[in-house]
């Protein structure tokens, strides 16, 4: 069960990529969140909204443009080489594409043993072999599979190998970047189950990214919703579905198809207009303003800040701006009524 | 035959309106390897340019076996003391623009040489002293030498006067002008230049030429790159003559004597193999090494492989060519003796050595000679590394003076010596005594040569020369390979190509006829 110990603190993280025209692609723009020990934080959002970039920056794979990421209170972007090396042992990643993330010219054994070798975790070859076999067993493969080449495996099996590689160094934190979106529906469940099982067994902390809200909700304790480089809402996963606050979250939730004709027919749909703007030149003010039904004047001018409207529920939307004297909740209630009437 | 000649008449008619009455209007076509950049006669560095200039510029005179053959000059008198040379220019000799050829032109050309060379040339400086050049009148001039120098005749013969009036008598104007690149330049020969194209020249006959009117009214010179294309062109009738350098071609054209005419003229040229006493390896070995090499060479085989026919070249026995009257037929030379050569090679330490051999790849047959020499020396345990050089790299290396670094980059090399014809032995002396690289002629030989000049008695002179030839072979680092013939093949309708024996280009355009 999630404790209250922060394992990762992300503070005002910004990651801009330079583009050719001297402009910057603001992939992640001022995002803050914490991850507590043993929990799974899910991040959803549309394609290109900066989920992967955010995750990778948190793992130190990209340098930050601004802000900081603290791992157990230590800034990961100002680590020495040695510290960084130790850090890699504690934090691992699972990739989206099970085909691209495994070296096609290596055997399963080589792939899984690499981390063990790099960190000198095995005393000798036999121990190494034993460890690899255990890892394979753990992810639901056979020890016999170790001698094979990766291209003999299907997508699901490959993803298991990827998970075994990540677990080979006994990490405490796992970043899963859409680990299932490249897999077939029937295989997805296997991987989800495996990840959930492993998390329980090893008390892993996970950052789980996907654009499929139902899966994120299934696996996460808390969910952050991103839109165009910004975190717009962050709360417990059960709460998010029941009482979404941000208009984008609401639209997103309503757009997710439900595999049940009756439930689907009853569901109310919020149809958004237009397309996601380019992250190269994001609109001033609220980035969602252009597509938002509740867009107000202020939305086009001022960027909303993340505010905690109820404990543990953060939203970045002007609808919930604190009216002087009252708590954000009130404003929410009145506006919500207006929203629902439209 | 020259099938194209009739339809070429019209296009060139404009430039030769003065020639319309001429009946025999054959076009004589031949080919060069490279297109000369200019027709300036004193720039004659390549055989190609010499051929291109031959129809339009003439020398003063030429030396032959039977004395002087006069061109622009008609008389050369040498004073008793051998110091004063009086030259008279043909009264009828004119430039193609009508101006007479005068001593001014001669002086102008000599001055240009001095200008280009950046110092006194062989015309103006002899034996370290200055030559006085006096203009007697328009057509007569006088060269007063500081001391006797037999070879001055040769100096004067290798000389194409340029038209001084075209440059206001100022030789410094030549380099900057396009005069020699533009049709219509004043020429002294039988033809004027009527066209200069990217890859060809067209010359038309002059009718005010002082030696007569050539029967060939038009000469076309085009450039044809590779050897075989030239041959194809010749066989297709595109060119009228070409030089034959291989025995196979010689045989082939001989067999088709109904289609072609053959001409063979002795080139007065000695091809020789030079050992370099300063060479990286040769300089470390004794005289015996030289001998070993000379004995290991089989001249007949070299001729056989490289030329393939004695009509193209004969084995040489002396360093003097048969075209010179002082030549000794009985000069013994070296005879192939493999056993002796092996013995000497061993004793001199030559065996097992690697020698560097250079040759001029632009000259016919030299590569073959190299190939054969290499194999023959292999027999005595010598490895020969052959480096092929083009003309421009070959000569600086081959003639590098001994103190130059280039002189120590090779051990063996082949070259040819254009000996000129005639009784004049001056050239031979300069050859024996005045070599750029110190090639082993002893003072004794040089002394003997000097003595030979001073000897009036023909018999005694010859005997002296016989001794020199023997001695030179004995001690010098040169090995005579062959005497070559200049063999030409022409289309059947072309006759009279062998009208002149002037080295190195033998054609006299006055004697060519085309039917």
């Amino acid at each position: 069960m999630p404790s209250q110990k922060k394992i990762l603190e992300v503070k005002n993280l910004k990651k801009y990529f330079p583009t050719t025209q001297k402009q910057q692609l603001k992939a992640v723009d001022n995002v803050s969140f914490d991850i507590y020990e043993g929990e799974t934080l899910g991040i959803v959002g549309e394609s290109g909204c900066g989920k992967t970039t955010c995750g990778k920056t948190c793992l130190g794979m990209y340098p930050v443009t601004d802000g900081e990421v603290l791992f157990h209170g230590k800034n990961i972007h100002s680590m020495s080489k040695k510290e960084r090396f130790a850090f890699t042992k504690r934090v691992q990643m699972i990739f989206q594409d099970p085909y691209a993330s495994l070296d096609p010219h290596q055997k399963v054994y080589d792939i899984i043993a690499e981390g063990i070798q790099i960190h000198g975790m095995a005393k000798n070859k036999t121990e190494e072999k034993k460890m690899v076999a255990e890892l394979l067993e753990m992810v639901g493969l056979n020890a016999e599979h170790a001698a094979r080449n990766v291209h003999e495996f299907s997508g699901g099996q490959r993803q298991r190998i990827g998970i075994a590689r990540a677990l080979s160094v006994n990490p405490e934190f796992l970043f899963c970047d859409e680990p299932i979106s490249a897999l077939d529906v029937s295989i997805q469940a296997q991987i989800i189950n495996l990840l959930m099982k492993l998390q329980k067994e090893k008390n892993l902390t996970m950052l789980f990214i996907a654009h499929d809200l139902s899966i994120v909700k299934h696996i996460s304790d808390r969910i952050g919703v991103m839109y165009l480089g910004k975190m717009v809402e962050l709360t417990e996963s059960s709460k998010l579905y029941v009482e979404p606050k941000h208009p984008y979250t609401r639209a997103l939730l309503s757009a997710v198809p439900i595999a049940d004709p009756e439930a689907s027919a009853q569901k109310e749909r919020i149809m958004l207009k237009g397309d996601v703007p380019s992250p190269v030149n994001p609109p001033v003010g609220c980035r969602f303003a252009g597509r938002c039904e509740n867009c107000m004047e202020i939305c086009r001018k001022e960027e909303p800040q993340m505010i905690e409207i109820v404990p543990g529920h953060y939203v970045a939307c002007h609808l919930y701006d604190e009216i002087p004297g009252s708590k954000g909740q009130k404003a929410d209630a009145s506006l919500l009524a207006r929203v629902q009437s439209t | 035959g020259c099938g194209g000649s009739s339809d070429k008449k019209d296009s060139s008619a404009k430039t030769e309106d003065t020639k319309k009455e001429a009946k025999s209007d054959g076009t004589f076509t031949f080919a060069l390897n490279y297109m000369p950049n200019s027709l300036q006669p004193s720039a004659q560095s390549s055989d190609d340019l010499v051929s291109a200039i031959r129809p339009i510029y003439e020398p003063l005179f030429a030396e032959t076996k039977d004395g002087l053959e006069y061109y622009l000059a008609d008389k050369l008198d040498i004073s008793e003391d051998g110091l004063t040379y009086t030259l008279h220019i043909n009264d009828k000799a004119t430039w193609s623009d009508g101006e007479p050829v005068t001593v001014k032109d001669i002086k102008f050309t000599i001055d240009y040489g001095v200008l280009v060379y950046g110092g006194p040339t062989s015309f103006t400086k002899v034996n370290g002293g200055e030559v006085q050049i006096n203009e007697i009148d328009d057509k007569t001039m006088e060269f007063v030498l500081p001391s006797v120098y037999d070879n001055y005749v040769r100096t004067l013969s290798q000389f194409y006067p340029m038209p001084a009036h075209a440059f206001d008598n100022d030789p410094s104007k030549i380099d900057d002008s396009t005069y020699f690149k533009t049709p219509g330049m004043a020429t002294s020969g039988a033809y004027v230049v009527s066209e200069i194209n990217e890859d060809s020249f067209v010359y038309t006959a002059r009718d005010d030429y002082y030696r007569g009117t050539p029967s060939v009214k038009k000469v076309v010179i085009k450039t044809i790159g590779s050897g075989s294309t030239k041959q194809i062109e010749f066989e297709n009738g595109g060119i009228d003559y070409m030089r034959v350098t291989s025995a196979e071609d010689l045989k082939k054209y001989k067999e088709e004597s109904d289609k072609y005419n053959m001409y063979s003229i002795s080139e007065a040229r000695l091809n020789y193999l030079q050992l370099n006493p300063h060479g990286p390896v040769m300089s470390t070995l004794s005289q015996d090494a030289r001998k070993a090499i000379f004995l290991a060479l089989d001249k007949d085989a070299i001729v056989d492989f490289a030329w393939g026919s004695d009509e193209l070249a004969e084995p040489a026995n002396s360093l003097i060519t048969p075209d010179q009257s002082i030549y000794n037929k009985n000069c013994k030379g070296y005879n192939f003796n493999l056993e002796e050569a092996k013995k000497l090679a061993k004793s001199s330490g030559l065996e097992g050595k690697e020698l560097t051999y250079i040759y001029n790849s632009d000259r016919a047959n030299m590569e073959s000679v190299a190939t054969v020499v290499q194999q023959q020396l292999a027999e005595i345990g010598v490895t020969v590394n052959i480096e092929s050089c083009d003309t421009s790299t070959f000569f600086p290396r081959f003639f590098a003076s001994k103190d130059k670094e280039l002189a120590t980059t090779w051990d063996l090399g082949t070259n040819g010596w254009d000996s000129q014809r005639g009784s004049n032995c001056g050239q031979a002396i300069s050859y024996f005594t005045n070599r750029l690289c110190d090639c082993g002629y002893s003072d004794e030989v040089s002394g003997l040569a000097q003595k030979a000049i001073g000897t009036a008695d023909a018999k005694e002179k010859q005997e002296l020369w016989n001794t020199i030839q023997d001695k030179a072979l004995e001690e010098c680092w040169e090995y005579p390979l062959t005497y070559t013939n200049f063999v030409m093949v022409s289309q059947k309708n072309v006759t009279g190509l062998d009208g002149s024996s002037v080295v190195p280009e033998f054609i006299d355009y006055l004697s060519i006829h085309m039917d």
Binding site: E46, S47, S154, G156, Q157, D184, V185, S186, I187, Q188, A189, Q190, I192, N193, M196, K197, H211, L213, S214, I215, K217, H218, I219, S238, Y241, A251, L252, L253, S254, A255, V256, P257, I258, A259, D260, P261, A263, S264, R269, M271, L272, D275, V276 | -
Partner: protein, 334 residues
């Protein structure tokens, strides 16, 4: 209602290096006028090939096998000549593809690409009229400034716009059947919802039938009238939306429905999984193709292909479990 399209015993093979890939193995189904039929199944089960077969777009090394019948409005189009196909495509039946970016010619202006479809089925109209038609169509698909859009190149548009262009191209000649091969897979959910809604609206307006190919059961639940579940080149179950979602028969359909977590349900319990992988289609198992992964497989499943049985007039499935003797064999039937 009439059957617009009837597929009878259609089989498609591909000659590949490793042998012949039996991509589609003897499938039969029908689509009624104005109906939305969803074709669902795992990747590689032959959905796209089925669609291409209807359009006559199966290319070498693929081959529609002898005996396949595709009856469209009473005529067997499988026997069409290439000229007849040309008339058929775009006019009677249109198709849109998954990835709109690669499905549009990158160096041709949008307007021209849409116009081509009109040109091909020229109901001799003037250029202006055609242009007007195109603009109207674009507006119908939800593109606001249609005139401007005509002069653009595909790469200048966003993913959703491109997919709308694709729909416009497909619908400009008012086909009777629209085949949509995963039309929204490359899009975001919010955009997907827009596109699906627009498609539904257009369907109503133009009264056409849709064959929707997808592997997202959620979309199916939302849009389809009838569902066809394919597995390894065969149809394993077919029925109305309610029949499939609420009374699935085939173990594969059941597993498929249960393996997807649902947004509207809470809890972190383990999902239902289907172990194993789809069989190799060059060498399909001689029995039921799902047998290897089926938790209830019986001996006979590995030996013989199950025959198709009807559950109701609109509901059919192929599974040995439906044989009345299956229960006797020992395993309880759900």
């Amino acid at each position: 209602m009439n059957n617009l399209l009837e597929m009878k015993h259609v089989a498609v093979n591909f000659a590949a290096y490793g042998g012949t890939v039996q991509a589609v193995r003897d499938i039969s189904f029908s689509i009624e006028e104005g109906q939305t039929v969803a074709l669902v199944g795992e990747s590689g089960c032959g959905k796209s090939i089925t669609a291409k077969t209807i359009m006559g777009l199966v290319k070498k090394p693929g081959k529609v096998m002898e005996g396949s019948q595709i009856i469209f409005e009473g005529t067997d189009i499988a026997k069409y000549s290439s000229k007849e196909w040309k008339k058929f495509r775009g006019k009677e039946c249109s198709m849109i593809f998954q990835d709109a970016l690669v499905s549009l010619n990158p160096t041709m202006k949008i307007g021209k690409q849409i116009m081509e479809s009109l040109d091909n089925h020229a109901v001799t109209t003037s250029k202006e009229e055609k242009k007007k038609k195109v603009i109207d169509m674009l507006k119908l698909t939800g593109i606001a400034d249609a005139e401007k859009c005509l002069e653009k190149y595909p790469h200048e548009l966003s993913g959703g716009m491109r997919q709308r262009i694709m729909i416009a191209i497909a619908l400009i000649s008012h086909p009777k059947l629209l085949i949509a091969d995963e039309p929204t897979t490359s899009l975001d959910v919010t955009i997907q919802a827009q596109i699906l809604a627009e498609m539904k609206a257009l369907q109503k307006k133009l009264k056409m039938a849709i064959l929707l190919i997808t592997h997202d059961l959620g979309i199916v639940a939302d849009v389809a009238d009838k569902i066809i579940v394919m597995y390894a080149g065969k149809i394993v179950e077919e029925g109305t939306v309610r029949e499939i979602f609420y009374h699935p028969v085939h173990p594969y359909t059941k597993a498929l429905l249960n393996s997807v977590p649902r947004l509207d349900r809470d809890g972190k319990e383990m999902l239902c999984t289907i172990e194993g992988n789809i069989p190799d289609m060059t060498n399909p198992p001689k029995g039921c193709a799902f047998c290897e992964r089926c938790p209830r497989a019986m001996n006979i499943c590995a030996q013989y292909m199950p025959e198709e049985k009807t559950v109701s007039s609109s509901h059919r499935a192929s599974c040995w479990m439906m044989d009345e003797r299956a229960a006797k064999g020992g395993v309880a039937h759900a």
